[in-house]
Structure formats: structure tokens, C-alpha cells
Amino acid sequence: MRRTDQMTGLVVFAGAVAFSATAWRQYAYWGENGPGPGFLPLWLGVAMAGLAALLFAGATRSRAVGAPWLPRGAGRRRLLAVLLATALFVALLDVVGMIFGTALFLAAILRLVERHAWPTALGVAAGAAAVNYLVFTYWLRVPFPVGVLGF
């Protein structure tokens, strides 16, 4: 975690400086009779830069290397598979529709990632899609994206 903290410190420091710089350049620091829209952001950026510098310094001084925080092997594969499937679902939400997308997403995760039997995967997928439809579309009238299939 030591290397990660160092990196985080540097990245956050740079981000905080940019945040303050934007506040200074683009938003008024002082208005007609009090602080303007740039006042608080500027100081927040300064505070964050200070905290990030402390994090970097602390991590650099620390002798403990610490365990890696990202998983390896099977854990990493599962994490990436779930993340990828979710991102794909969200990206294609307008194309596949919320209800059909829900079924597709669940079937894919349950069968391909979690290795459940087909009947379990399809049953849960169909059931959850139906509940989703009943609660959100039918009852709460949330206008879900319908996608090319119409649901």
C-alpha cells in the first residue's frame, strides 16, 4: 500500500492544485459584499493539496511496504468480469432496455461468472426482470429505457 499511497498523494496533489487554479482563474474570489463562487473551492484545493503532501511524506517515510491491495488470480478475474459486464449493461442500457437488459445481465453473470446451472441462472434472471417490471415500470411508473425490443 506504500507505493499506492505515494502515487495517490502525487495524483491528488496535482488534482488539488488544478482545482484551486481553476477556482482562481475562472471564478470570482470575492464578490461585491462577500466571498464569491471561487472562495471556498480555492481553499478546499489548498487544504487537499496539504493533506496529499502529508500522505506522500508519510508513505515515503514509512518502512512498511504492506500487502498489495488489488487481488490477483481468480479474484482479479471475477472482479474484472463483474465490472465489465456491469459497464456493458450501463453502456447499452438505451439499446437493450432496462427489463431485457436486467435478464440478460443476470443470466450472463450467474451462468458465465458464478457457474450456476442454466435453470437457476435463467430462473433468477426471468424472475428479477419480472419483479423489476412490476415494481418500477408498472407500480412506480419509472420510465425505463425500453431498447430496440420494446421492453
Binding site: G31, G75, T86, M98, I109
Partner: protein, 504 residues
């Protein structure tokens, strides 16, 4: 006895069959909505507000208020069972509630939350009834400096919760405040930090961020592990959900402290159930004889905050009804409803619409009784419903997160935002940052900024206004003390370690 006459009037209204039915429905629907991750009281009340337009205002507010406190309780269920708060006031319940669930003690955690909520809710309504005129006058004297000082105190105490790493807690908090800067500036109306994206003009909504950080983050952290069903084992019969005598002895004062603290925080404009729950947790940790158990399943860490957030939702009704100032996001939505019914909240409401005010107050007594009966009965049912393998529950939670984030504004943009914060929440969790501090800062950011700038505008002494006014001076001093404690403790720890190294 004016009060008694009013109360009799109120009960005669609240006990009509239709109003009673609305209270029952509201409590059940509210609990269900609160239990869905990502759909908290605010969105629940907002989504169901249109349903009440066919009713009389009194029946409508009875149902909406029932949804409000029902969902306050429902949020506890998911906090304890799957570490996913339904709304920000239950964030703090996750800390020890989920730990208790991991130890197979989800039943007592939920039981103590129900009992605490009942005690707090009932006490809150009594206080609301007795003290609303006086308290309304008192909070009327609160200016922007006091509001800002109070929010500052709320923010700094959060870092006491993050436990392992105060520095990273402050970083999380400042990051939340920075996120809160995005969108229209409330004073000047100018857009800030939008990157030219239209969707960013409204800034970061609390809900997609919270769903992402907590719901999605937890799911991703769970996904990298092999299937983990620890939480689903254990006994969850009706008897197992009743807290033991030892649990009761440990949590009774926590409940009482949480109730009183929660009510008084709840009545302050801008503060609310979230701050109340965080403060209650901090207080319990400080007064506890075994503070080291906090974060590892201390029952007081559930009892106190859960009592506090329910008492705060009763307290939040005081400024709403007497001043027309909402004390929380949900009461802001309720205010919108009142105005649509043509009612003008304020001191005159008590004189002009006594049937409405007292009907609501009486229904809150009834609602609390309903809540405890329904929930003691429902706990085993909820636990059974969640006794599903995590490998099946996990993708289902993701679907909940997506639908919850979407149904806020019906925008895919919010879903994308939720996903980004999900990845961030995962990293924060793994690297000892505090998603809770970030979330609270995001919620309070705009309110705190407005109070800060208004204070500076009315001030002749710049920042001096915060220390020259007695109430804000005390609050600021407390906030600074909250910052100093972890720093001093860290420095002493480092010195002790160095001495230890030198000695060896």
C-alpha cells in the same frame, strides 16, 4: 388543557378508518422502499407524492410521514444485512450493524434498531408536541454563522469514525466538499466545474454517489472474494431477533441518549438525521467502557444512531411545521407536497389548520406502534428473504443499484455516475479511505458553503463572526477539538513507537 383538547382532536382524525389504513400502508411501503438499496426516504416520498394528490391533505401527509419513518427503519435492514445503507442516515449503522451480522448476530442488531426506533420515535413525537413553539423560537435565532458552525462540527466528527486513518478520513471529507462545488453556484447562479457537460449543471446528486460508493463498492469488494455467505448462516427465528438481556443492558442508555440527541439535532434547520446518527455514534464511542469494540460489532453502535435518526425525523418536523424550513432532504420534499395542497407551513399553520397538524402528530404516535409490531414480525421474514447465496444476491444488488440510480432522474447519466463511484468506493474501501465522510461532505457541502458565504456577507470581522457569536463559538471550538483529538493521538502513538524502537 389546550394540549389535551388538541391531542383528542388529532386522534379523532388519525383513527378514522381511511387515515389508519394510509398509516399502515405508508409504514409497510416505507419499510420496503427503505430496504431496497439506493431508494431512501427522500426518493421514496418523492416517488409516492403524486399518489396522495387524490386524497385530503391530512390523509396525504399521514401516508407520506408514515413512508418517511417506515423507510428510516427499512434502511437499517440493508445496512445490517448487506452493508448497503438505503439512505445517508443509515450509513453509520453499517459500521457495527454489518459486523454484528458477520458474527451471526443480525437478528439482535435489527431487533435493537426496531426497539430503539420505537422509543426514539415515540419520545420524539412527545417532544415535538410539547416543545415545538419554544424550540421554533430558539432555532429562529440561529443565523448562518451558527448553521455553518454546526455543519462544521458534523463534518469534523465524521473523521473520528474512520478509525484507522484520520488523514485519509480528512482527505475523503475534503474530496466530498470538492465534489459538492460542482454545478450551479447557489449564491451567484454561475455554473462551476461542469467541464461543459450539461448533466453536470446540477452537480453530483447524493443518491447515485451513495449507491455507487456503498452498494456497488461493496459488491465489487465481494466479487473478488470467493462466495461469502457468512452473513446468511445463523439463526434468525423470531426469538433470535429479540436482543438478549445483556444486549438490552448495553444499549438502553445508548437509545435514550440517541433519542434526545437526535431530536435536538433534527430540529435544527439544515442538520438532520444523518448528522444526528453520526454524532450519536461518536458519543457512544466516547462514553463506552469498551470503545475498542466499536467497528467490530458493538450493539451500542447500532442502538444509538438508529434511535437518533428516528428521533431526528420527528425533530425535523418541528422547523418544517412551525417555520416552513425543512430540516432534511425528505422534509424538503414534504414541504413541496404541503405547498401543492395549498397549505403554507409556518406559525399560522397551527392556528389555521389544527386538524391537519394534530392529525399528523397523532398519526405519528400510531405509526410508531405499527412500526414496532410490523417489524418485530417482519424481521425473520426479511432475513429469510436475504438468505440467498451471495453469488445470486451480488448481481441482484447490482441490478438494484442500476435501477435505483436510474429512477432518481430517469437518466442513464446517473447510472454511469453510480458506476464510476462504485469503482471509487471499492478503491476507497480497500485503501482505508472513508466513503461515509465523502458522502456526508457531499450532502452538507452546498448548505455549508451557503451558510459560510452568508455569514461572511453579514460579518464586519471576516471569519471573526464565527467566534464572536457565543453559540457558533462553542460549536466551532468543539469542531476544532474533534480535529485535534486524532492528531494528538497519532502524534503520541508515533512518539511512543519511537521510544519503543530506541529502547529496543
Amino acid at each position: 388543557m389546550d394540549l389535551l383538547t388538541n391531542l383528542v382532536l388529532g386522534f379523532s382524525i388519525a383513527l378514522t378508518p381511511f387515515n389508519l389504513l394510509m398509516a399502515v400502508l405508508g409504514v409497510i411501503v416505507g419499510t420496503l422502499i427503505g430496504a431496497l438499496p439506493g431508494i431512501g426516504p427522500t426518493s421514496g416520498v418523492a416517488l409516492l407524492l403524486p399518489l396522495t394528490f387524490g386524497m385530503s391533505p391530512t390523509s396525504g401527509i399521514i401516508m407520506l410521514a408514515a413512508i418517511y419513518y417506515g423507510s428510516m427503519y427499512g434502511g437499517t435492514i440493508t445496512s445490517v444485512l448487506i452493508n448497503t445503507p438505503g439512505e445517508s442516515a443509515s450509513v453509520v449503522t453499517c459500521i457495527d450493524g454489518y459486523q454484528m451480522a458477520l458474527q451471526g448476530r443480525a437478528g439482535p442488531a435489527l431487533g435493537v434498531a426496531t426497539i430503539g426506533s420505537f422509543i426514539a420515535g415515540s419520545l420524539g413525537v412527545v417532544l415535538l408536541m410539547l416543545m415545538s413553539p419554544t424550540l421554533a423560537r430558539w432555532s429562529l435565532s440561529f443565523g448562518p454563522p451558527e448553521e455553518f458552525a454546526l455543519m462544521l462540527l458534523g463534518l469534523t466528527t465524521v473523521t473520528g469514525l474512520t478509525g484507522t486513518n484520520a488523514l485519509k478520513g480528512y482527505m475523503s471529507m475534503v474530496f466530498g466538499l470538492m465534489l459538492a462545488m460542482a454545478g450551479f453556484d447557489i449564491v451567484s447562479g454561475r455554473p462551476r466545474y461542469t467541464g461543459g457537460v450539461t448533466e453536470m449543471l446540477d452537480g453530483f446528486d447524493f443518491l447515485p454517489v451513495a449507491i455507487g460508493l456503498f452498494g456497488m463498492g461493496e459488491v465489487l469488494a465481494g466479487a473478488e472474494q470467493a462466495i461469502d455467505t457468512r452473513i446468511l448462516r445463523g439463526r434468525y427465528g423470531f426469538r433470535d431477533c429479540l436482543p438478549s438481556t445483556a444486549d438490552w443492558m448495553r444499549s438502553r442508555w445508548a437509545m435514550l441518549r440517541g433519542s434526545v440527541l437526535g431530536f435536538f439535532i433534527g430540529i435544527l434547520p439544515g442538520a438532520g438525521a444523518t448528522i444526528a446518527s453520526f454524532l450519536s455514534y461518536t458519543v457512544e464511542k466516547k462514553v463506552s467502557r469498551h470503545p475498542e469494540e466499536f467497528g467490530h460489532g458493538a450493539i451500542e453502535g447500532v442502538a444509538g444512531p438508529e434511535s437518533a435518526n428516528n428521533a431526528a425525523s420527528a425533530g425535523a418536523m418541528v422547523p418544517l411545521l412551525t417555520l416552513g424550513i425543512p430540516g432534511s432532504g425528505t422534509t424538503a420534499v414534504l414541504l413541496g407536497g404541503l405547498m401543492m395542497w395549498g397549505l403554507r407551513p409556518g406559525p399560522l399553520l397551527f392556528e389555521k389548520n389544527p386538524d391537519f397538524v394534530w392529525g399528523l402528530i397523532a398519526s405519528m404516535y400510531i405509526g410508531n406502534v405499527l412500526l414496532v409490531i410490523l417489524n418485530i414480525g417482519f424481521i425473520p421474514l426479511f432475513v429469510r428473504a436475504l438468505r440467498v447465496p451471495y453469488s445470486i444476491l451480488m448481481p441482484l444488488i447490482i441490478v438494484f443499484c442500476i435501477t435505483g440510480a436510474y429512477s432518481l432522474n430517469n437518466k442513464v447519466w446517473d447510472v454511469g455516475q453510480m458506476l464510476v463511484f462504485g469503482v471509487l468506493g471499492y478503491a476507497m474501501k480497500k485503501l482505508d479511505y472513508s466513503p461515509a465522510a465523502l458522502t456526508l461532505a457531499l450532502v452538507l457541502g452546498p448548505l455549508a458553503e451557503r451558510a459560510l458565504r452568508q455569514s461572511m456577507i453579514i460579518s464586519d470581522d471576516g471569519l471573526g463572526i464565527f467566534v464572536l457569536r457565543p453559540i457558533s463559538a462553542v460549536l466551532v471550538a468543539l469542531a476544532l477539538a474533534a480535529v485535534a483529538v486524532p492528531v494528538v493521538r497519532g502524534a503520541r502513538g508515533a512518539m511512543a513507537r519511537r521510544r519503543g524502537l530506541a529502547a529496543s
